[in-house]
């Protein structure tokens, strides 16, 4: 019997299979089904501060539009009780799920203001989250903003959040950093207990008929695994932190590769959305089977076994890789 347990962010997970942020982790019913299927932890969808601000301002605008202007219609919508435009609904949901399941539940946060990051992080902790994923997802469009400034901003907020919450913190990153290892090191020094690679960007599309920019959601595929796989492999061992791999995990092979690169936790969403909860058990069974077949005894044994430091030819993970691919044509 192989040992599938893994340590991630100071928590012992029964296996590396973590249900990543998706509508499935947002509802009590599906959260329970995920637990039953065997996932080791749940990551809630992100609490987006920007969305909260937007909802609040929009509700206010819609209420005040046309109000107190015309004698016969001093308002156009009834006043009802409370609206869940703030974080309360998210936090209540988190608490409910946390109470109902036995596996760890991670909160996730995407802030826009310093105050927002810290405040909501504390509230997520108070709601009972076992750990917090900070989702550093913002698009820097300002030509005046340099990379150093942008990175410093993120380091500051990780430090600020670290100072105010005591649960473990993982930082979820995008792949678009010039010097990722340096930034990863600084994040760890600022207090991150783990790094999650990489965030998926839902890139908008163009509608050629209407010439509009339109949102476009595409679920991941296995090819996307390569990027985080490579970077976890490069960072593992060099940066003393835990790694989570997200994007492109669809099979037992993918999961095994992730662990070999150095991931302590592997986050899956698209596969479950496409093929249902049954895939959790299937993948975990396949992993176990593969490990038994290949005589691995534990996840810990396998973790980082194909990282930059562990492989015989580290250049395979570096630039040479690119050159070799080209020259093979």
């Amino acid at each position: 019997m192989v040992d599938l347990t893994t340590n991630y962010l100071g928590l012992t997970l029964k296996n590396p299979f973590v249900a990543s942020s998706s509508p499935l982790t947002n509802k009590l019913g599906t959260a329970l089904q995920l637990e039953e299927a065997g996932v080791a932890a749940l990551i809630m969808p992100s609490l987006f501060e920007e969305q909260i601000i937007h909802d609040s301002l929009r509700l206010d605008r819609d209420y005040t539009r046309g109000a107190e202007s015309f004698a016969e219609a001093l308002s156009y919508l009834p006043e009802t009780g409370q609206y869940s435009v703030g974080p309360d609904k998210y936090l209540d949901n988190l608490s409910n799920i946390k109470r109902a399941v036995k596996i760890p539940v991670f909160g996730s946060l995407n802030g826009v203001t310093t105050g927002g990051w810290v405040d909501y992080a504390r509230r997520i902790e108070q709601a009972g989250a076992d750990a917090l994923e900070l989702n550093l997802y913002d698009i820097c469009t300002d030509p005046e903003m340099g990379s150093q400034e942008q990175e410093d901003r993120h380091i500051t907020l990780v430090r600020d959040v670290r100072a105010r919450v005591s649960i473990p913190i993982a930082v979820k990153l995008s792949p678009f950093y010039t010097a990722l290892p340096n930034f990863a090191r600084r994040l760890t020094e600022a207090g991150a207990d783990g790094l999650v690679l990489f965030n998926r960007f839902y890139q908008p599309d163009f509608d050629l008929e209407t010439l509009d920019v339109v949102p476009h959601l595409v679920l991941s595929n296995s090819h996307e695994l390569r990027l985080p796989l490579r970077w976890i492999a490069i960072l593992y061992g060099k940066i003393r932190t835990d790694f989570g791999l997200t994007s492109g995990l669809h099979s037992a092979e993918d999961l095994i590769k992730a662990v070999m690169a150095g991931a302590s936790a592997t986050m899956v969403a698209s596969e479950l959305l496409m093929h249902g909860f049954g895939r959790v058990t299937e993948i975990l069974n396949d992993v176990q089977e593969w490990m038994e077949e290949h005589e691995y005894v534990s996840i810990e044994q396998m973790k980082g076994s194909m990282s930059h430091q562990a492989i015989g030819d580290p250049s395979a993970l570096e630039r040479a890789n690119y050159m070799r691919v080209l020259s093979s044509y």
């Binding site: 909802d55 539009r65 107190e68 219609a73 308002s75 009834p78 009802t80 609206y83």
Partner: protein
């Protein structure tokens, strides 16, 4: 007992009691009473219990008539039942009121008293409605202030239980109903102490029940009806004493003492005014002031008007009285006096008052909330001093026709010096009124001061002006009239200074606060001369703040309310500055807290940024300005527009004499063109290099401010320098030029035109053929272009097909520049209608949004063309519009028939061939109509010279020989609910009328109450929990007749289908019904996205497009064509863009999801049904007409 002090208006104060003491509440919206029903609905939605711990059952009915019926039924079955209404609504209840009273049934109707529509509709207050119920047998109990409304409501509810006489409790609409005042709230214990549960149980015991069956509601014959009618006398005899008993009980409980008739004034008064309602407070204050100056005056306040207790009245009257003036707030034309006057005359005559009996005068005041001030009250007292005073006079107006009005000194004031008086000019959209309501609450509830607020609005739904009147001070404030001498005047919009006499309210030495983009050093030079003069003459302290800049910096957009509120507190020193800021923030949290932290934070930041931007201006000693206030209308406007409408536009309508007003309520059309409101900072600008001349921007423009013309190139000579033109792309108009213009001062800046424009720059897709740009720099340039555009000839309607959207927009709109909301979804349909048929339509318009933006003075958007032809428009009532329009049709049909009969008889005189052509004319095309008009002109010429009675008759009817189209227009509140019975009958009649339903899915004009058109899962007032039943499918009901043309259209989804439907409806010789999707401000989103929402409504199947043309049946075709595709998106994708749906998701997610599932099911079911109907096989019957043949 310490009771809570609360600050609220009369409607809420009343509803609080009514709700507590009811089990069933039947409601229907009507201004100014709607808020009472809204409160009841919301409280029930939040599960607030009544006195007995159960939640009242609140139901919206289809009309006030329906509400009264439901009340009657609920009462008969033993429920404690109430309703709220006003004006025509109360009139619709009258039949049931007779029954309820005749059956001695305890109930209270709460009425915010309002004018009755006569020569014109008015939403404002007087006693015309209440007086119309005098004969019903209801007790009529008046309250004069917000506190009294609260108190009297309780007295009414308790007295009726014992008296068994039903009560109508009333207070002045648009004074007490909407005045915000600090009152002492009655607690649960107070209400409990007043109510006798034995009487409640006795009420139930009288109920109809099969367990103890009785019969009520018999028909009675001449032998006994009379006697039976007299049986109730004993109840009416004791009713006044019962009311006084409960008033005394109330006094013992609260210390506030009321009597059936309350006298205030000198014990030895010789001159006494008898008056009822809020005006009594004004008279009482004035009498107290005059007594202080040695005058022997007093006032009798009438509280219980019916049953009128002569005994109590005479007892209240001082024995010393020599002259009584009775003031009535209503008018009974042709009577020997108004109602209260006649009652007083009878009481004095019968009551044995001392000899010589006092002289009794009667007067009218305050109709339609006309101001009734202490100056007017003094004028009435002064009149009594004259040897030959006027009787049956009016006060408050200048009657230069029948010379009934009495004089008064408008400069007479009695304001208490310790009362601080503030006037704020705001724009509807800037939040001024909301902030002032908060200020009153802060002052009223956080200090020991008393506070009062009243708010005046103009009649526009976009760019409206609001004037807030706030009083506060250490003594109770009972001044139910506007402030004329303010210590503080704030103008929140700089442009008002050019349009209105803003400083007329300022007392000498007052503070003037101005929101100005000009700083303290520049502002003076930018003020009109009149403003500078007033500041100098009145020695005003002058402050400025650039509130827009502060708002921009703090993310508040155009909402400057909290910024200006902070300035007010900082300057006025009502509270220490720090405390004021704390209280403002507290109020912000209370008001906006539930909308989320972000809103609160932004407001806080605005407050914090304000004071650093507030500056006092050093006022120069001399007037230096080189410009004056703009005239309200241009000098080239017709005289009536300048003299009469102009005064109204300038806010000076009160000064117009009786002679200025048309005697029969008839006004010229086409007058909005003179009211340049200039309300937007951004307007669309045309880019000819991108334009494809599709006309869509013109098509959707709700205010008809975007126009296009095709014209001969020769007109380019003499065109303004900035004139833009391109080659016209019409096959019908080769070698012509094309120009599109915008009226910069009529545009509301809604942006719909930009949204709909399909032409994008290939190198920069964000640039379209029409784009918004700042208005001020191009205003004059575009005005010049607009004027030149108007001077170009209109296109010849006979030279092109009117069946395409592109062509239709070359036609002159005869509906323009209405006061509808910016981005209104209704008005584009009306504009289109007038473009297609405007010169030959008669419009019957139901009361509602369309009657307000269509016919609320001062101006009307219904216009006429160069030949003087255009829509003839009228509004009858809310409930009868279909019948009203049918009446118009009947006249046209009868006159047409008679004219044709006369033609045949006069053929020898006017010419056989002309008669033949007139009778056989094909008027199915523009050319045909043009030809018929020419024939009629010839006919008239020939008839004019004939000395014959029949010829003269025909001459008076000749125009009817040209085809006219009757359009019956209204909203869904009318069509689906209150007017549905009539509408159904008119459809069934088979007559050739066209009914256009502007379907916003709520009662928009009264603030968004649910109608039967409101869709499932949407939240609306009166459906605060989200509507649980689906929208009524009125189109389906109409189709069932088989001979009614029915179309369901949404111009945002298919403009061509809309156009086709209008043309087909007009062409169909029978009844037509067009149900038009009209996006609305009550849906809760930025209306510039309205067309997009229309597309989504159609794509989701929520609003399928179809046309059902019975004319096709005769040709063997299925009459139903579904014009939209099978639903492609879920309902939620459409619905959750709108706050009316989304707010339920945010407040009760589970219910929202359940209702949304059902809504999705509704769509599927309806679609399947339509599809089956459209697939049915029809065979021609060889008979072209299926209607009323």
């Amino acid at each position: 007992m310490m009771r809570e002090k609360i600050t609220l208006d009369g409607n809420e104060a009343t509803a609080k009691i009514a709700y507590k003491l009811s089990e069933v509440v039947a409601i229907y919206p009507i201004t100014p009473s709607s808020a009472m029903g809204e409160f009841a609905d919301e409280w029930a939605a939040y599960k607030q219990p009544n006195l007995w711990g159960t939640i009242p059952l609140v139901i919206e009915m289809q009309s006030e008539g329906g509400a009264a019926g439901a009340v009657h039924g609920a009462l008969q079955s033993g429920a404690l039942t109430t309703t709220f209404t006003a004006s025509q609504g109360l009139l619709l209840m009258i039949p049931n009121m007779y029954k309820i009273a005749g059956e001695l049934t305890s109930t209270v109707f709460h009425v915010s008293a309002r004018s009755i529509a006569a020569q014109g509709l008015s939403i404002f207050g007087d006693h015309s409605d209440v007086m119309a119920t005098r004969g019903t047998g209801f007790a009529l109990l008046a309250s004069n202030s917000v506190q009294e409304a609260h108190d009297t409501a309780l007295i009414a509810h308790t007295a009726t239980m014992e008296a068994r006489v039903p009560f109508l409790h009333f207070f002045d609409g648009f004074r007490t109903s909407h005045e915000v005042n600090k009152i002492e709230q009655l607690g649960q214990e107070d209400i409990r102490a007043m109510v006798d549960d034995n009487l409640v149980q006795a009420h139930r015991a009288r109920a109809l029940s099969p367990d103890r069956p009785v019969l009520r509601g018999t028909a009675q014959n001449p032998d006994v009806y009379f006697q039976a009618r007299e049986t109730v006398n004993p109840y009416y005899q004791v009713c006044p004493d019962i009311v006084q008993k409960y008033m005394d009980k109330f006094a013992a409980l609260t210390g506030r003492s009321y009597h059936l008739f309350d006298y205030e004034g000198a014990p030895d008064a010789e001159r006494v005014i008898v008056v009822m309602g809020s005006g009594a407070e004004t008279v009482a204050d004035t009498a107290a002031y005059l007594m202080g100056h040695g005058e022997k005056v007093g006032v009798v306040k009438v509280r219980l008007y019916r049953p009128f207790s002569m005994k109590h009245f005479l007892k209240a009257l001082p024995a010393t009285v020599k002259t009584i003036t009775v003031l009535d707030r209503c008018k009974e034309p042709g009577s020997s006096g108004e109602p209260l006057y006649l009652d007083v005359v009878a009481a004095i005559s019968e009551g044995g008052a001392s000899d010589p009996k006092p002289r009794i005068l009667g007067g009218r005041y305050g109709l339609s909330s006309k101001e009734f001030t202490p100056a007017m009250a003094k004028g009435v007292f002064d009149e009594m001093l004259k040897d030959t005073p006027k009787n049956h006079f009016t006060v408050g107006i200048y009657d230069d026709v029948t010379h009934n009005s009495i004089d008064y000194d408008p400069e007479f004031h009695i304001e208490m010096p310790q009362t601080v008086r503030c006037v704020f000019w705001g724009l509807g959209a800037d939040g001024t009124v909301g902030a002032n309501k908060n200020s009153i609450k802060i002052i009223g509830e956080e200090t020991d001061n008393f506070a009062q607020g009243y708010f005046v609005y103009d009649s526009k739904k976009s760019g409206s002006v609001t004037i807030s009147h706030l009083r506060f001070g250490t003594k109770p404030i009972r001044a139910p009239y506007l402030i004329s001498q303010a210590n503080f005047v704030a103008c929140h919009q700089f442009s008002f200074l050019e349009r209105y006499d803003v400083l007329k309210y300022a007392a000498p030495g007052a503070v003037f606060l101005l929101n100005s983009i000009y700083g303290p050093d520049q502002v003076w030079d930018n003020l009109p001369r009149e403003v500078q003069q007033a500041i100098i003459d009145k020695k005003l302290r002058f402050y400025v703040i650039d509130a827009y800049e502060v708002a921009a910096q703090t993310g508040m957009g155009g909402r400057i309310n909290t910024i200006m509120q902070t300035c007010f507190f900082a300057i006025s020193n009502v509270l220490p500055r720090e405390q004021a800021i704390t209280e403002i923030k507290h109020a912000i949290e209370k008001t906006y807290g539930k909308r989320g932290e972000a809103v609160v934070k932004r407001n806080f930041e605005a407050v914090d940024q304000t004071l650093a931007n507030l500056f006092e201006v050093k006022v120069p000693e001399q007037v230096t300005s080189g410009f004056t206030r703009r005239p309200p209308v241009p000098n080239q406007a017709p005289e009536f527009v300048q003299q009469v409408l102009g005064a109204m536009i300038a806010g000076e309508g009160d000064s117009l004499p009786v002679s200025a007003m048309p005697a029969d309520g008839t006004y010229p059309t086409g007058t909005t063109q003179w009211e340049k409101r200039n309300i937007t900072l951004e307007i669309p600008v045309w880019e000819p290099d991108l334009c494809i001349q599709c006309g869509k921007c013109c098509f959707v423009c709700p205010h008809a401010v975007i126009r296009e013309k095709v014209y001969a190139p020769s007109y380019l000579e003499g065109a303004p320098e900035s004139w833009l033109a391109m080659d016209a792309r019409w096959k019908e108009f080769p070698d012509m030029k094309y120009t599109l213009v915008v009226s910069p001062e009529d545009c509301t800046g809604c942006g719909l035109c930009v949204e709909v424009c399909p032409a994008k720059d290939k190198s920069q897709v964000g640039r379209k053929a029409i784009n918004m740009a700042p208005q001020p720099p191009i205003r004059e340039r575009e005005n010049i272009n607009w004027d030149y555009f108007l001077s170009l000839p209109e296109v010849d309607r006979t030279q092109m097909s009117l069946k395409t959207v592109k062509n239709s927009q070359l036609l002159q709109p005869l509906f323009e520049f209405s006061g509808a909301c910016a981005g209104c979804g209704e008005t584009p349909y009306l504009k289109l209608l007038t473009q297609l048929l405007g010169d030959r339509i008669v419009v019957a318009n139901a009361t509602g949004c369309s009657s307000i933006y269509g016919g609320n003075l001062p101006t009307t958007p219904w216009a006429k063309n160069a030949e003087g032809r255009g829509p003839a428009w009228s509004n009858s009532l809310f409930e009868d519009n279909a019948e009203f329009g049918l009446g118009m049709r009947l006249t046209l049909d009868k006159h047409g028939e008679y004219a044709r009969e006369l033609l045949a008889q006069l053929a020898g005189l006017v010419g056989e061939s002309l008669v033949d052509e007139l009778l056989r004319a094909d008027q199915s095309s523009e050319a045909g109509i043009k030809a018929q008009r020419e024939r009629v002109a010839t006919l008239k010429q020939r008839l004019a010279g004939i000395d014959d009675d029949q010829a003269r008759d025909l001459l008076s009817l000749a125009d009817v020989l040209v085809r006219k189209s009757v359009w019956i227009i209204g909203g869904d509140g009318w069509a689906y609910d209150i007017g549905y019975g009539g509408l159904d009958h008119v459809l069934a009649s088979g007559r050739n009328v066209n009914i256009l339903v502007l379907d916003t899915e709520v009662y928009s004009n009264t603030g968004g109450q649910a109608s039967k058109s409101t869709p499932r899962a949407a939240v609306a007032k009166f459906a605060a929990q989200g509507k649980s039943i689906p929208k009524k499918d009125m189109g389906m009901i109409a189709m069932a007749y088989g001979y009614v043309y029915v179309a369901r259209v949404a111009m945002g989804a298919s403009d061509q289908q809309t156009l086709t439907a209008f043309a087909e409806a007009d062409a169909y010789d029978g009844p037509s019904l067009i149900i038009a999707y009209s996006h609305c401000i009550a849906h809760g989103y930025d209306l510039k996205k309205g067309l997009e929402q229309q597309k989504l409504a159609v794509a989701s199947g929520v609003w399928p497009l179809y046309r059902f043309n019975p004319a096709l049946i005769a040709e063997g075709h299925n009459p139903l064509s579904i014009d939209s595709k099978e639903p492609t998106i879920p309902v939620s994708q459409y619905a959750y863009n709108e706050t009316r749906y989304r707010m339920l998701l945010q407040s009760d997610e589970q219910r929202a999801e359940a209702l949304m599932k059902l809504a999705q099911k509704d769509v599927r079911g309806r679609w399947d049904l339509y599809k089956q109907m459209a697939a049915m096989h029809y065979e021609g019957d060889g008979n072209g007409k299926t209607g009323n043949d």
